[in-house]
């Protein structure tokens, strides 16, 4: 087990060695993070490289979402240095579907379209190429037949996959998923895990997802970052450390 002062750095399982892949997409250097100047995690050192599939395991309330929100720029670090090698618009974020308000009358395709909003000017209609892209990502997640269905009428697993499709619409370099496997049935878990693996292997995306279920994370991820009681460390049973 590494101490929290060590750099937790995980490289691509594909073993890519291009110049782009040798630079971390996100790196946290001795970062303290939390809310209202009260740190939840201290001295976090973490680097995420392209093509890596990293699981963040820890119990509820350990600070997984706080870490994600800090990486995404939604929370400012209390101390330390956080650097990103790509703009925030290249981050595909998948929140917990329960965090979204079910009273919005949205179809599944409307939710997926939201991923393109960053590229569309306010006065424009959604361009045809973006509509095509919606179809592509729905195909990619295997749910094109549910495009017209009400988003909140879908099952937990289907909603989660739709949110992954929305994140893919962004054309991300890194995807951050908050508890994508919780509250979904076993078949959906398998399907989501396969999808995440495929995205890292075939598209070279970095995927960083959280779960409170360590066993599940071990099954899916190339590398596991453990988080608990204000500390973060790399679980060496599975990860390959960056030198």
């Amino acid at each position: 087990m590494k101490s929290q002062q060590d750099v937790v750095a995980i490289k691509s399982a594909r073993g890519g060695h291009s110049e782009e892949e040798s630079l971390p997409l996100v790196s946290l250097d001795n970062v303290s993070l939390g809310y209202d100047s009260a740190p939840v995690l201290n001295a976090v050192n973490l680097a995420i490289y392209p093509g890596s599939l990293i699981g963040l395991a820890g119990p509820n309330g350990s600070g997984k979402t706080t870490l994600f929100r800090t990486i995404l720029g939604l929370l400012a670090p209390i101390a330390g240095t956080l650097s990103r090698s790509c703009p925030l618009s290249n981050f595909g974020y998948v929140p917990q579907s329960a965090a979204l308000d079910p009273q919005f009358p949205l179809s599944a395709s409307e939710v997926v379209e939201m991923g393109a909003y960053g590229r569309v000017h306010p006065y424009q209609f959604l361009p045809a190429r973006e509509k095509e892209r919606v179809k592509e990502v729905l195909q990619q997640i295997g749910l094109p037949q549910l495009a017209a269905r009400s988003f909140f009428s879908l099952s937990g697993g289907q909603k989660q996959r739709m949110l992954i499709a929305r994140a893919l619409m962004v054309n991300p370099k890194i995807m951050i998923l908050d508890e994508p496997l919780s509250g979904v049935d076993e078949e959906s878990r398998r399907s989501i895990a396969d999808l995440l693996t495929k995205l890292t292997r075939e598209k070279g995306l970095a995927v960083f997802f959280s779960s409170h279920d360590l066993e599940m994370v071990q099954r899916v991820a190339d590398g596991i970052v453990r988080i608990d009681k204000g500390q973060i460390w790399l679980d060496e049973r599975k990860a390959r450390l960056h030198p």
Partner: protein, 481 residues
């Protein structure tokens, strides 16, 4: 059906008011949809109340002399107060939201109560302007002038365009603030813009249509649309369409049945919600058919009354003489005309009335009836000249016949009774008057008519002139063949 054709005719006096109501009905639900989805419906109730406090405050300032007295610019002054208070209120609520002290609902409820009490207190401080303030807060959109309509088109048109252009940004910020931040940067810009647009239509809408109607237009169509749609684009469209339906049907019912517009529209909006939840299991197309059917039934029902018959010709009723009874006033108001009434001055000059006599609406109406009846070929007599007991002649047919027989009168009596006579904004007079022509031999009602509704008095510049114009319009209508 004639009323329907009349109100959609651009030359109709209240046509600007109809257009204004339709524009508000179209635009308000677009903003209100987001208030509903963001669970800030109570903001839609509180802001109009704050705007109303602003109107009351500016009138009080006028009364104390801090602001100049501009009788021709009542609405403009009220509008300034409405705008200032709305944006100050929004700023304060936003600041408290940022500080995050206490529940949001609690803050809004307290603001609503505070604004409501301020509105009443400023009115109490300003007894001279109470009626003007009350009229403005009642929001008689029916009195909307063409200049005010242009303002409504400008402001609401701007909000409409902004809501269409920034619909994606407003949706994203309302639905998923984290994604909005990643894709569009600081979402506070979109929050501010959305509430700015809401504040704008509320501040202008309250002064044009009153707080109740604006709150109704903001919230009710969106609530009615919600169970009917599963797409955001349909939600906005259906909300606006239901807003239009509510506005048109409300306006039509208000004119046809002489009901106040605000409560009529709001009641209709609530019916739409019940209807929408009741039929949520049927398809959108069936619902649309149902709405159209309801519209048609309502319009037909409102138009089902037989066309009003004019006063018959003298020869057709075989009455030798018509006794024109004094007009009965059942309004509990004296209905006196202002002392500077030019008609009164003329009468005084020729010595027909004493200088301490004040003419009233009843006399004015009787004078006009007398002239028109004479032109129809009737031989007019005044019952009180025959017998002093006939000063108050009953409008009930059998009682009138009995009384006439006792007084040895024969022929027919023309009786009138005013139930309502309210001058509003000098641009129209709301009336309810019964007219009857009763044969005295047997008490048979030969002809009768009830005149009810808002009588337009567009060229009137004071209350006396408005009454005069309204009387002429009513009598002209009674005798029109």
């Amino acid at each position: 059906m004639s009323t329907l054709i009349e109100i959609v005719n651009p030359s109709y006096l209240l046509f600007p008011a109809l257009l204004g109501t339709l524009i508000m009905g179209l635009v308000c639900p677009l903003v209100g949809s987001f208030l509903v989805l963001r669970r800030t419906v109570f903001l839609g109730l509180t802001l109009p109340e704050i705007a109303a406090a602003g109107v009351s405050f500016t009138f009080w300032l006028q009364q104390t002399g801090v602001l100049p007295q501009l009788s021709q610019a009542e609405r403009t002054i009220g509008m300034i107060g409405s705008l200032v208070f709305t944006f100050l209120g929004m700023g304060l609520l936003g600041y408290l939201e940022q500080r995050g002290k206490g529940p949001a609902e609690g803050r809004l409820a307290a603001a609503y109560a505070f604004a409501g009490s301020l509105t009443i207190l400023f009115m109490v401080f300003n007894p001279a302007g109470q009626i003007e303030v009350l009229n403005l807060l009642k929001g008689e959109v029916i009195a909307l002038s063409k200049a005010e309509l242009r303002l409504v088109v400008g402001v609401f048109g701007l909000v409409f365009v902004a809501m269409l252009v920034f619909r994606r940004e407003f949706l994203l910020t309302s639905f998923d603030r984290d994604l909005a931040f990643l894709l569009k940067g600081r979402q506070v810009v979109w929050d501010v813009l959305l509430y700015l647009l809401a504040g704008l239509i509320i501040a202008f809408g309250v002064i044009m249509a009153g707080p109740l109607l604006i709150f109704g237009f903001l919230v009710l169509p969106a609530l009615a649309a919600k169970p009917l749609v599963s797409r955001m684009s349909s939600f906005l469209t259906v909300s606006s369409v239901l807003g239009l339906v509510m506005a048109f049907l409300g306006f039509y019912s208000s004119v046809r049945l002489d009901l106040p517009l605000g409560p009529t529209d709001v009641a209709l909006g609530c019916c739409l919600i019940f209807l929408a939840y009741g039929v949520r299991r049927i398809t959108a197309r069936t619902f649309a058919v149902l709405i159209v059917t309801c519209l048609a039934i309502s319009v037909t029902a409102c138009s089902a009354r037989a066309p009003a018959e004019p006063v018959p010709e003298a020869k057709t009723i075989n009455a030798e003489e018509v006794w024109l009874a004094k007009v009965k006033n059942s309004t509990a108001l004296p209905l006196l005309l202002p002392s500077n009434n030019p008609l009164r001055s003329l009468a005084e000059m020729v010595g027909k009335i004493s200088s301490d006599y004040r003419q009233n609406v009843m006399d004015l109406l009787r004078e006009n009836l007398k002239t028109e009846l004479a032109q129809k070929g009737f031989q007019i007599s005044l019952p009180e000249e025959q017998d002093v007991r006939f000063v108050a002649f009953p409008t009930d047919a059998s009682a009138a016949a009995r009384m006439a027989r006792e007084g040895k009168l024969s022929g027919a009596v023309f009786a009138s009774e005013i139930w309502r006579w309210e001058i509003e904004s000098q641009k129209f007079v709301r009336v309810l008057i019964d007219f009857k022509l009763i044969r005295l031999d047997d008490g048979a009602v030969l002809w009768e008519r009830r005149v009810q509704g808002a009588i337009p008095t567009p060229s009137a510049t004071n209350a006396g002139q408005a009454s005069n114009d309204a009387v002429k319009a009513i009598v002209r209508d009674l005798f029109a063949g």
